[in-house]
Amino acid sequence: MNAIETHELSKSFHGLNAVDHLDLRVPEGSIYGFIGENGSGKSTAEKLICGLLVPSGGSISLYGRPHTDPVIRSQIGLLIENPGCFPNSTVYQNLLMQALNLDLRRPQEEVGRVLKLVSLVSAAGRRYKDCSLGMKQRLGVAQALLGHPRLLILDEPINGLDADGIRIVRETLIELNRSEGVTVLISSHILGELSKIATHYGILRAGALIRQTPASALSAECRDFVAVKTDDDPRAQAILRSRYSQVEPQDGVIRVYDETDSSSVSGFLHQHGVGVAEISYQTIGLEEYYLQIMSHQTQESRHA
């Protein structure tokens, strides 16, 4: 079953489509990385799913039920844009109010649990407005985690976090996903970090989903290559093309995609009298994959 399923979901502001016929499928138990440039419609889509915006068209279902169902909606934890906290109330009070809002049975205990989870116990008495950006973000995550939600919707949850904060959030999400089967829809611009946890990806552009794929399928698409820098790159390219079919210059190096053994490449170049300055084995990461897709999309739209 899909935790989130949207069909032709659309939202326009003043005639501009922020979300354009979105067909999102977030499988239950997945960590779904929601990727897209600024203004691509990620936050708008997330707000629509949480019922904070009124759709212009289409439908949303959560666990097979309409997203307006109070039972399903009570199972969502969210952090969208900024944590929703009262500035003059303390960290503890803000969490307690959300626990009351969720109608949790032992709210104080639950607040204590999530405070420990995000390492904010020592800041419990601090007023929200006096918290650092990182602390506020961790508080937002803690609010989302109150009462063991079934579905977490997190918009840029690691924004402003230091390395330790990022690690805490990452490990917490992985743990919740594995031990409690929590489904996570997470958007982030820090793609390297996202690639450490995501099991599925959706790439959004101009409000439309341009790619939706499991992480395993994406890994297969992310090719390995040998990157080599020589003292005569044009000649080296010609030589390498005589042996390999996929040779491409990029970012000041020559990439050989149909070879994984760097010693074989360097040996071949050496045989032909080309000096190798640098050579390494690399993999296209999520970030580069994303940029390639975006560049491809830009070219397509120009041609169109």
Binding site: K47, L52, L53, E81, P83, G84, F86, D103
Partner: protein
């Protein structure tokens, strides 16, 4: 401690009420409004210039200031014919018990606007898809706070009356029906003020200005509850309060359902 999965309206509204009451008692605005409500009658009584017999105390024999015609403490509660008196500059005439209706509106304006300003409204509506929950809870908070302010005003009047040696002659039943009627009428006012607050959302100052203007225009309507009130007056107030709260609450719900929240 998993999240409860109940679709019933009662537990949903109950959880909203728990949240709102917790917030109400943990923010200074309620206490400020209660204090102001208690201080106003004290100021009125101590500045009326009445002596214990109710006669003007001005030794020159000149008439008392226009806003002062009270002969005993309870006339502050009744405040008939003086709500927004004939003279628009007669500010003393405005400062009667019915003014707490405006204070209740201001409290609601601040309460609702802070939900939006802080972004906490996202937390509320992500788990409460039925906007009526919010409207009911906030209206109840308004009525409760308004009732508290009415009682604070009575308390302030009594204390100031005791200190200044005012007369306390009143028919107790009339006084009780009068206060009950005013509390019940709070339903209409709070529902109206809530409509203004959810319409302007985070625009706190615009909400405050509209609430104040609306309150100044309409609060004389609350002076129908006098010291001569009977159970019939209270019943009429209950009816007006309920119909007004439900009708205006439906409008607020419609506003919330039709508009984006964040």
């Amino acid at each position: 401690m998993p999240r409860p999965a109940s679709s019933g309206a009662r537990p949903r509204v109950a959880s909203m009420l728990r949240l709102d009451f917790h917030r109400l008692f943990h923010t200074p605005i309620l206490y400020v409004m209660l204090t102001v409500s208690a201080i106003i009658p004290a100021l009125l009584l101590t500045t009326t210039g009445l002596d214990a017999s109710g006669a003007p105390a001005d030794p020159s024999g000149r008439p008392a200031p226009p806003s002062v015609e009270h002969t005993n403490v309870w006339q502050l509660i009744e405040s008939t014919g003086r709500s927004g008196g004939a003279d628009p500059l007669d500010f003393g005439g405005y400062a009667n018990i019915n003014m707490v209706f405006i204070f209740a509106g201001l409290l609601m304006a601040i309460f609702v606007a802070h939900d939006y300003i802080s972004g906490f409204v996202k937390n509320i509506f992500s788990v409460h898809p039925q906007k009526a929950d919010y409207v009911i809870s906030k209206t109840v908070i308004g009525i409760f706070s308004g009732a508290g302010m009415i009682l604070a005003y009575v308390f302030g009047s009594v204390i100031a009356g005791l200190i200044t040696g005012q007369a306390f002659d009143v028919a107790v039943s009339g006084l009780i029906w009068c206060l009950l009627s005013k509390i019940l009428l709070m339903g209409v006012f709070c529902a109206l003020f809530l409509g203004v607050a959810v319409f302007f959302r985070s625009k706190l100052w615009i909400t405050i200005v509209f609430t104040f203007l609306l309150g100044m225009t309409l609060y004389p309507a609350a002076s129908v509850a006098t010291l001569d009130s009977t159970p019939a007056t209270t019943l009429a107030s209950l009816l007006a309060g309920t119909v007004g709260a439900v009708g205006l609450g439906a409008v607020s719900t419609l506003i919330l359902n039709r508009r984006d929240l964040a």
